[in-house]
């Protein structure tokens, strides 16, 4: 049975994602109406540059006054795709106060202040949906908060940033250095003019915070996420990974501690075996593994960014929120009842690959091994090789067994003090084994 009064939708932002949302709302209006049970009508689009020509959007809908739009009082759903903390946060809260539910793609805001937004949504009895905030079109938020709602998630591990995956993939396949690969990513539109948010891991850290919060039913903010970007990954690291049968990926890893009393969330480059399914995630694609007690290992794969894929996620949420509106219900809100604390990086237990430049003389390996033993870090394999130029230096590549990050840091500090260790060329974690 179709209701004839349409649901009113306001769009905040009309860039790559917003314009695609508006386009699909128009071209697929009949399908959306059939799936929701009522037509949806775009009643306003808030933009910064009203003079820009926006094909397919009625110019009468365009406004620069986003605040007035969300304050109208007759809006059913506000779609927020402007990004950033402010004015997005105030606009979303104002939308809740004025009767609207919200669909957002704003990972930075949700990772910074998700708890307050959820509280506002609950106070006013509205929905806050944000599938598009994590990994574009790949369904992750809904599977984690609904499909796995009866299970216990222990680990989320994935590639959640397309720009950095593109760069690392180029480095791996072509042998290029970081700068060269970044240039190619920029030229092809995979990296922004200022790539900081991607290459320094801020974007992935925001997604890790959101995923960890949902997966473990607790609150994790972006500041709780240990973050290392890919700017220091070298061609030598990639070559070294290859020699180990591995490749290098920027991973977001959220884990429940073995004793179940805390969680960790981190983003850093890591070596993973070529046989691991994440190793074959190429170019700008994203993929996320979820390990749950009953379900076992699940993987979700797809395009993690881009206007159309992100719009697909926004529209899926829009349909759900509109259905809830019609049924005078709300979907699942924040679930943070476990209140599990987030442990620091030092508590994370994993394996390490360490390259040292050492003096090429007898006894060095014994000295190095002693330092590892003293710090309680057990060595798995060591590869020692002299330099062909005979400059009196050699390389020592150590791969450890699992050890706490704090112990590894202590080991590296002690190694740097050895006379025979000329430098620590690289340290990289080894995951996915």
């Amino acid at each position: 049975m179709m209701r004839t009064r349409p649901l009113k939708v306001a769009l905040l932002g009309c860039g790559v994602v917003g314009s695609e949302v508006a386009r699909i709302m128009t071209t697929h209006a009949d399908d959306l109406a059939a799936r929701i049970g009522a037509p949806v009508e775009l009643v306003g689009v808030a933009v910064r540059r009203p003079s820009k020509v926006r094909e397919g959007i009625d110019p009468a809908l365009i406004t620069t006054d986003a605040t007035a739009l969300v304050q109208r009082g007759d809006i059913d759903v506000v779609v927020e795709v402007i990004g950033g903390i402010e004015p997005a946060r105030t606009l979303i809260t104002t939308a809740f106060e004025n009767g609207a539910s919200v669909v957002s793609a704003n990972k930075a805001l949700l990772a910074e202040d998700g708890a307050a937004l959820h509280a506002a949504a609950e106070k006013y009895g509205r929905d806050l949906y944000y599938e598009a905030a994590v990994a574009g079109a790949i369904p992750l938020v809904r599977p984690l908060r609904e499909s796995l709602a009866g299970d216990k998630v222990n680990r989320v591990l994935g590639i959640v940033n397309g720009t950095t995956n593109f760069i690392l993939d180029k480095m791996d396949t072509s042998g290029a250095g970081y700068s060269e690969a970044l240039d190619e990513a920029t030229a092809l539109g995979y990296a922004e003019a200022d790539p900081t948010a991607d290459v320094e891991g801020f974007d992935a850290a925001a997604k890790a915070a959101i995923l960890a919060g949902i997966a473990f039913h607790t609150r994790v903010k972006i500041g709780d996420v240990h973050r290392e970007g890919i700017t220091e990954v070298t061609a030598a690291d990639i070559a070294s990974a290859r020699r180990m049968g591995c490749t290098v990926k920027l991973l977001a890893i959220c884990e429940r501690a073995a004793d179940g009393r805390s969680v960790t969330a981190r983003v850093h480059p890591a070596m993973i075996p070529l046989s691991h399914p994440l190793a074959s995630v190429r170019e700008a694609y994203n993929a996320v593994f979820v390990e749950a007690e009953a379900a076992g290992q699940l993987m979700f794969y797809g395009p993690g960014a881009g206007g159309s894929p992100t719009a697909s996620a926004v529209l899926g949420d829009l349909v759900a929120v509109c259905r809830n509106k019609l049924g005078e219900a709300t979907g699942p809100g924040e679930s943070a009842y476990t209140r599990l604390p987030v442990s620091p990086m030092g508590d994370v237990v994993t394996r390490y690959h360490i390259s040292l430049d050492v003096a090429d003389k007898p006894g060095v390996l014994a000295q190095v091994a002693t330092v590892f033993a003293e710090q309680g870090v057990s060595i798995d394999t060591v590869r020692q090789q002299g330099r062909p130029d005979g400059d009196g230096e050699a390389s020592l590549v150590v791969v450890t067994h699992r050890a706490p990050d704090a112990a590894l840091s202590g080991t590296v500090e002690a190694l740097r003090k050895l006379d025979t260790v000329r430098g620590v060329a690289s340290i990289m974690r080894v995951e996915g084994e």
Copy 2:
């Protein structure tokens, strides 16, 4: 805010899945209560053999009278994991009449009579959820009917039966024949004593019907699905696939026709390139590709069967249905508004790999090529090879371009009439390119 009156759950069936559902409901009761907003209480378990010892289940809950259990009138949710058409169908309908929503893992029933069940659920204002009916723990039903509700799905292609994937994987890795691989699957518990439902493709066809219906918002029954099993796949087929850089998988494929006016659904063995992500799905795992207009290509991977994974899916649905009950709402029901007809197999357009035994003499290739041309099937490659034993026969392996299945059938019929064609050794479709 926690409601103290518990939601009452009745469990129909207590086999591999049911016992795991009961176990998790007990061991994770606090988590489920927190996530639902009210405790859930198992108030009855209908079984066939009441004398069997069932660890962790209060014997007072056991009953053989499933009908009386669903007629109690105070049940909030009925979990149906008995499978098969009857008595499951009558019990589910009775549950709706008596106030309960239903979570089911029953693929056979949903693929046979899903429309009637959905109609009954809607009539009484109840939920019918069935994530567990397709691919175990892998979230597919919810992503298709909710996450992609704002998108247009054009294709679903996947491995949805673990038993047959295990058998084909064994044949591929060990060179074993079908019978030998089936014996190993049976010995390891991957195949049932009577493997018909799996190896003849009935199980996969039921899942294909369910997926096609949801993906295309239309009604597809198991009888609409073209079905071929794996019993005729030979070691020679697998070897031939290898020579083409392919492997053989039993695929479920649901497609929207190019003109958008009909859909097809089919299950059959097919060659796929080794570079395709489905080629690396090993043992009893499942994986499904979904291609949507805006989202692009998504893949979902995980354990497709087993007590725990299936229970995970059941419990995710249980949490959702309980939340709906508390909110006096219902989730999305059947969406079949497109009423797209299901076209017959003859309309499916794909590529083919055909092995012919032919007379080893000049002119045979010309004759064969003429038949293909007359039927409008364009040849991509031909490989011709004499037999080492010089018995006057040769093999001809033809790979075609895309052509309608009906044209291919016509071609094969005509080929069989040629004097120089001694036999059609195998015909296999080529997918995923």
